[in-house]
Symmetry: C2
């Protein structure tokens, strides 16, 4: 195993790798897994990567498990990077790509984190996993736990629609609806996990992040080892943005790419703690206190546990952050589907809405190469379905020809 330790994503403090760790003892920042990049640089090369089958486990030298461990896999990663020519010209860009990560096994980028987290749990002889989630992450962990034959606990809010409960329990997870907010569940779950040998793989768990970073690896490889100028990503806990940043940083550290793209983080106007802090050049985020009503449910995190880490990344890498109202996210969802044939959930389409705002604000140059991370599949969570649909017509069969001839 090449995993040599943990490093806090905020204050940089280092920890030894033996124990399962989640957060920094000093500043409570999210921990990140570190490797011996010097020795890895000889093993992980453009040539060595070209010879391996695509997917998250292509990068196993850069994942925190031993080479002999069989991954718990459902065939995650290796999602398409589509060039979006028509959409690009409609917004005046010359180079626009969509990283269609809704093409993962349960319809979301979360599967990349779940495969790594679940494999770590099996390797370390743990008997169960868990997560705090009312959405995609819970479903994803449940699927991987089923594949591994392990118990999965999902801690979910007290109030959920029956459709949500279906999604969470279809893979046989134990769904526990808890009276109490997201952060108290997050903190409590980590304490209990340690004590009972359960690996709790919450939003920005260090092993989960290792899966997310493979999106950055794939983007670079699919662009023929070119580095895009911008990568636009949604942010809820901040885990996805954090993982993307780590992926690009590692490829640079290994000498595989000469520079790191700028990250643009997008949040719904209704829940924008990272955007607010970024605009104030603050070092720490402040909790959002109002009730969340946006249709972009999966981005409704009032106090992102990787928020401070993302702020630091944006400041270091010259990125930006932008909030968009729901109407613009719905318009983006419609356009992705109708112009490019990609049906994204609202959280996946929000990156297009964010990109449009950034162009209007002159924050990015029209000849820059842009990749939008489309993080989830629309059939999992369509959002405001009524706004995505046009009225159909009803006719008699003998009128069919005239309808087709004239429309």
């Amino acid at each position: 195993m090449n995993f040599v330790g943990y490093k806090c994503g905020v204050c940089g403090q280092e920890f030894s790798p033996e124990e399962i760790r989640y957060r920094c003892d000093s500043c409570n920042g999210p921990l990140l897994v570190t490797y011996d990049y010097g020795s890895l640089a000889k093993k992980v090369t453009v040539k060595s990567l070209a010879e391996k089958p695509a997917g998250v486990w292509k990068y196993r030298e850069l994942l925190p498990v031993s080479p002999s461990t069989e991954p718990v896999s459902l065939g995650e990663g290796a999602t398409p990077l589509h060039e979006a020519k028509t959409l690009a010209s409609s917004i005046g860009l010359s180079n626009l790509f969509l990283k269609d990560d809704g093409r993962n096994p349960t319809g979301t980028f979360k599967d990349r984190g779940a495969t790594v987290g679940m494999t770590v749990a099996v390797e370390r002889g743990m008997h169960a996993v868990g997560t705090v989630s009312h959405g995609n992450m819970g479903t994803s962990m449940a699927a991987y736990a089923a594949r591994a034959g392990q118990t999965c606990y999902i801690l979910a809010p007290e109030y959920m629609t029956s459709a949500r409960v279906l999604y969470l329990s279809v893979y046989g997870a134990k769904v526990i609806q808890v009276v109490g907010g997201y952060d108290s569940m997050y903190d409590e779950s980590l304490k209990i996990a340690k004590k009972h040998g359960v690996l709790f793989i919450n939003s920005d768990n260090p092993f989960r992040e290792e899966g997310y970073k493979t999106i950055a690896f794939e983007i670079v490889e699919d662009l023929g080892w070119q580095v895009p100028d911008w990568v636009v990503t949604p942010a809820s806990s901040g885990g996805l943005a954090s993982g993307l940043g780590k992926g690009f940083e590692e490829f640079k550290e290994l000498g595989l790419i000469p520079r790191i793209p700028k990250l643009a983080v997008v949040q719904p106007s209704d829940a924008q703690p990272i955007v607010v802090a970024f605009e104030k050049s603050a070092e720490t985020i402040k909790r959002v206190d109002h009730e969340f009503t946006s249709i972009v449910r999966s981005l409704g995190n009032p106090y992102p546990p990787s928020g401070n880490r993302v702020l630091k990344l944006l400041q270091e890498l010259g990125g930006t952050a932008i909030a968009v109202p729901d109407e613009e996210t719905i318009a983006a969802q419609r356009d992705l589907a109708r112009i490019e044939g990609i049906f994204a959930e609202p959280a996946g389409a929000i990156t297009l809405a964010g990109l449009r705002r950034l162009i209007k604000l002159g924050k990015l140059n029209k000849d820059e190469k842009v990749v939008l991370v489309v993080s989830g599949f629309g059939f999992r969570d369509p959002g405001d379905a009524d706004k995505l649909v046009d009225k159909s017509v009803t006719i008699d069969i003998e009128d069919l020809e005239s309808v087709i001839a004239t429309s």
Copy 2:
């Protein structure tokens, strides 16, 4: 282009390739595209295939478009073939694999047919496409038409739930609800198509079949060029089974495999025209006249247009056909999700239910190598959701530890 003509899948009559054709002038059987296999055998080899990126278009020498045509693609095919060890041992098999075709762009195997059909339409300068569908095929064609910037007409039944209308129109297709049955829409659409330059890509259109056959190619390649003993497939129009048979036959014709697996076709008890005809050793299927109430909606075809072709295939290749009641399909759906982490729509899970019946009937040997085609993703159409879900518990946060410690 290697496309040299059409051949009727039932009576064998041949037609020249210039015109777009759908069905046989003599017997109304579905037409299949033919190639010059003699010259292709030199070009399509194990080695040539190993060098190409995975997906439907890997097999473009065996697809009916010119080599210079840019495919209309959303990254279809290259779906995982999972070994299902736990499930296999639970039913006493030694070699069971799941071809997870719900991993296609719109969550269904139909995308393999849509990419080929849409590319043919663009290559031939047609301005619109259409399909008769109230489900997966309509959604799939709509996505590919959006990607190509073309109009898509979807002819659908008069009565549909609003969820269905969402699925059909989210990609911007023109949904036309027609008063009149499926077969009259099928026949009428082909007539209108010819007249108005619209390519109607119905369930068993010859170009669509060319996409489906790539499932057979991928199964063989993913098994390291071994031929399974059985491939179990759902059947509605019969198009999928027909395409699978064609794929294996072509690989044999090209000298790539020594034999063809047996096909087992599964239908819901409520709509089993192919099974009934097969059991009577009939050469033609008879229309099912009762109203269809099964939850396996996408297999509710009363008079499969490729039914006679499938009967012929089963008789020639030594296959079989089996019907299963909905309860067994629901149990199969639960087991695929909970044992292997694959959430299939009812039509995708029915193959496991069929397999279990075939084992009980002694129709297949327990040491035979079996591949189940899991044709669609459960988040597209969960079926009877209530039966897939267990009751969740609601607790106070201070009771969390005791719940985890004791469960």
